[in-house]
Amino acid sequence: MSEEPRETPARVQRVPEPSGVPAVELRGVTRSYADQVAVRELSLRVGEGEFFSVLGPSGSGKTTLLRMVAGFEDPDGGAILLGGRDVVGVPAYRRDVNTVFQSYALFPHLSVWDNVAYGLRRLGLRRAELRTRVGDYLELVQLAGYGRRRPHQLSGGQQQRVAIARALARRPRVLLLDEPLAALDAQLRAQLRVELTRIQREVGTTFLYVTHDQEEALVLSHRLAVLRAGRVEQVGTPADVYERPASRFVAEFIRSSTTGGSNVLEGTVRTVTTAGDVATVEVAVGEGSVLAELPPNRALRRGQPVAVAVRPEKARLYAGEDAGPPSGWSRVPVRLRDTVYTGAATEHLVEVVGAPGALLTVFTQNTRRAGEAEPGGGPVLAGWEPRFSVLLDDDPSGDASSEPSGAARPPAAETGLTPGSAPDPVGVTARSDVR
């Protein structure tokens, strides 16, 4: 295995052309254990050739979802379709999917070569054909020449590569990956992330990737689904999910890893103004005013409580002697609470004046050298453009059972993902309608 960085062609994070039949489709899948519901009424479609991630905190049902697609568990209700065929009840060894496990699960009594050959022998491959295929896939994961070793003689990263080769060698319709990088250290994780992207591009197989690591999901996926308590909260491209979180949960789950600020501000609607076909809402937060574009399908009353999110790199800080944000921007008086230097950027944690507990994280690119003149007196104002404000539905409790009314929270597939257009054929049907 080459541990040194290799040259990889520029990655185009593009959703593959959706063909007629989705590679994987879940229709109203429900699964519960004892008295706990792990997955409820979940529907999802993954296009052929897509790198699709399922992102969620532990206990959100993502691993259960994957295990049901693999065939290790059966749903209590609903349908799981692989290439259009319902596979519920079909045992794992007769499904055209293969799994990469978090614990690798390599056969300890077999050599690397025999591990990769294991699934091919079950397909009836013999001699020359078998040798070629195993060789090809060991080469794909850059472990040619490691065939005679035993799994315990390999590093964690190498073991995971073997697991990937073993699963891919059968050329499954879908490759399922269950937090495959979680057991590796940060550097290896980053390296294998690049590696996974390359492998997926080379083989073109549909990848269904489960992770709790938001960064992983954003970097790797063509599209991703955010799961919460067994339901799909939002589906979209990484940019969609990051820039336009469909719910407070998504906004808070995908957040700065250092200061951990969620950047959700609570306020009340002050005014709604319409200029041309753009409606702008002004929200009072403490002593500041936050401006946000109002989506056409959403109505707000004056005095109504509302939550607004802004991504930390979209906001700017202004010191006392600065002119402050231009007019037409959000303008929020703040006090500096903490500063964290992270190398490329500095993260400022500020508190909104007049709104105790309302914290905002703001990233500043370190284009100057550290220690060089900071604007005097520290920041006193934060500001950002109205289009960077994301109005969140009022679901402040974080309780999954409290369903918002249909008016306040349209189905996720329509909230800002593809405004105005019909949902993608290989898009998602996130069921958030009232039960």
């Binding site: 699960a105 056969f107 699934g119 315990h152």
Partner: protein, 274 residues
């Protein structure tokens, strides 16, 4: 600070000879009689209290003794059969006890019973059951059944321990790669369990090879296992040099068998566990 340091050092200094002395004492207590026995087996004289000179005559006499050779052959056959049957049954039992089901605790406890039942009781009950009730004739069959009974628990315990440490993902991975239940068992589960099954079988072999009490109830006419023969001759004629040589041979044989088995299994297990 310095005082604390010195106190620690003296305690450590004392420990430097106390611990080795204890170890030497314990080993002497365990092995001195056996070593003395081994030494005596090479004694030139018939005496079992004074050593007069080195000789192999008692071993030569053993090899000429038809009765001893028959008993040895029976014992080896019996031990091997016991190991085989106990390994198969024990592995299946351990496998069955892997997944939780109603009454699993009870079943496990019942399997361990022979470990706590006194051997005399076991022998009597087996005699009553196999011979008087089931009509199994005394001899090889009855002996085999009895030896499997008391060695089965050991196989189950060893194999279950290994099963508990087995990553359930391994079998899922095999299923995922297209292996049906039987193929899975043959290509993954069994190979991973081999060291434990082998160790259990080795235990069963040695237990059977050394057994006196149970066997003495169940051996028939002409079919006497070696330990029973030794016991009988020793109690009838006292400790003779022949018996000493025979006993020494048995100790060596058991030890060699167990050491070889353990080494082979440990080697395999090391390969399997990362």
């Amino acid at each position: 600070m310095a005082q604390v340091d010195r106190g620690w050092r003296t305690a450590r200094g004392r420990r430097r000879w106390v611990l080795p002395a204890a170890v030497v004492g314990a080993y002497a207590f365990l092995y001195a009689p056996i070593l003395w026995l081994a030494l005596l087996s090479f004694n030139d004289s018939r005496s079992v209290s004074t050593f007069t000179g080195f000789s192999l005559r008692w071993y030569a006499e053993l090899l000429a003794d038809r009765q001893v050779l028959d008993a040895l052959w029976l014992t080896v056959r019996l031990a091997a059969s016991t190991a085989l049957v106990a390994a198969v049954l024990g592995t299946l039992a351990a496998w069955a006890l892997r997944r939780p089901f109603r009454g699993r605790g009870l079943w496990s406890a019942v399997l361990a019973m022979p470990l706590v039942v006194p051997e005399v009781v076991l022998g009597v009950s087996l005699l009553a059951f196999f011979v008087k009730l089931a009509g199994v004739p005394l001899g090889f069959g009855a002996l085999l059944a009895a030896h499997v009974t008391f060695s089965l628990s050991f196989v189950v315990i060893v194999v279950r321990a290994r099963l508990a440490g087995l990553d359930p993902r391994l079998e899922e991975a095999a299923a995922d790669l297209g292996a049906g239940p039987l193929t899975r068992w043959r290509t993954v589960t069994l190979p991973v369990l081999w060291p434990a099954i082998g160790a259990g079988a080795a235990f069963a072999f040695v237990l059977s090879f050394d057994d006196v009490v149970t066997s003495s109830y169940l051996s028939g006419v002409g079919g006497t296992p070696l330990p029973v023969l030794v016991y009988g001759q020793a109690s009838r004629r006292g400790v003779s040099p022949e018996i000493v040589a025979l006993s020494t041979s048995m100790v060596v044989l058991s030890t060699v068998l167990l050491v070889v088995a353990v080494l082979v299994m440990a080697r395999r297990a090391r390969h399997l566990d990362r």
